[in-house]
């Protein structure tokens, strides 16, 4: 092997080492990125604000249903008042009849 060939071999060896070093560097970077991504995924899952928002949205829905029910009850009360008013004379006659023993 000539000196020139040995030099070439050393150069190639250095190039290869550089390639390996870069590959390791890339691997390290990939690992760090994936760890960061995993951390974010978990952080997002743990994020209480999301669940609070879900809770708040559903609570608002419950409130709406409550208001709707209350409004239905008020309408029903109004209908009952109207019916009672319509039947008042008939009921008074019914009571008077029984009180007077007719």
């Amino acid at each position: 092997m000539s000196i020139e060939e040995i030099k070439n071999l050393v150069t190639q060896e250095k190039e290869s080492e550089e390639k390996l070093r870069k590959a390791e560097e890339k691997a390290t970077s990939l690992m760090e990125k994936s760890k960061e991504k995993a951390r974010k995924i978990l952080q997002e899952a743990e994020n209480q604000e999301y669940y609070n928002d879900v809770f708040k949205a559903k609570s608002e829905e419950i409130e709406k249903r409550k208001k709707m029910m209350e409004s239905e009850i008020d309408e029903k009360v109004e209908r009952i008042r109207k019916t009672a008013n319509k039947n008042l004379e008939k009921t008074i006659s019914f009571l008077v009849k029984h009180v007077l023993g007719e």
Binding site: S16, K19, L20, A45
Partner: protein, 208 residues
């Protein structure tokens, strides 16, 4: 020599590729595991939130429903009270009109009270207006009740005046038996015994 060089290059390139490939696989695994764990965390948290919401929904809607029922019942009771108050007004009006219809009723009330009591001598207590009406038909009443009881009945109208809308209180002479057949007492009995019918009459046609 060239062969050796290309062999070294080949081996090291493979080694570099493997390092990256292994890192990529590891990276994928880390992300996959994190995603799976995150899903579990989300599921657990959502379950907790759903449970709390379900409890809240059930309790608040039940309370609202109960409150509604209470409100409707209160309104109905109030309307029945109003109907009873108006009935009292109507009874006052009928009594003070002095119409034959009221006099007939008064007679029926006396007879009914007498049939509830045992004995032959009775006292009738009433308000000043009805006292006059009863005195007018006292002998007729005695005849009717004597006939229905199958015994000679003696009736006396008490000078004592009752503060009542109308109707009578009948007692045996010894005061051991008494039957209150005043309009107020009758209304109270009608109310107690016929509350369902009063509700049915007043709210007939109202959808529940």
């Amino acid at each position: 020599m060239e062969n050796l060089k290309s062999q070294i290059k080949f081996i090291q390139e493979i080694e570099a590729e493997e390092i990256i490939k292994e890192a990529e696989e590891q990276a994928k695994k880390i992300v996959k595991e994190a995603s799976e764990k995150a899903e579990k965390v989300k599921d657990q948290k959502m379950r907790e939130v759903s449970e709390k919401l379900h409890e809240r929904e059930a309790s608040e809607l039940a309370m609202t429903k109960l409150g509604g029922r209470k409100k409707i019942l209160n309104v109905k009771s109030q309307l029945v009270e109003e109907a009873l108050a108006k009935t009292i007004e109507k009874l006052k009006e009928i009594g003070s009109s002095g119409k034959p219809m009221y006099k007939d009723s008064l007679e029926r009330l006396v007879i009914e009270a007498l049939t509830k009591l045992k004995g032959t001598e009775f006292r009738i207590l009433t308000n000043s207006r009805d006292k006059k009406f009863i005195k007018e038909s006292l002998s007729e009443l005695e005849k009717k009740i004597s006939k229905s009881k199958g015994a000679s009945i003696s009736l006396q109208v008490s000078e004592e005046t009752q503060n009542t809308l109308g109707g009578v209180i009948v007692q045996t002479k010894d005061k051991k038996q008494i039957f209150n057949n005043t309009l107020e007492a009758r209304l109270a009995r009608v109310r107690q015994e016929m509350v369902g019918k009063i509700f049915d009459s007043l709210f007939e046609g109202a959808k529940d």
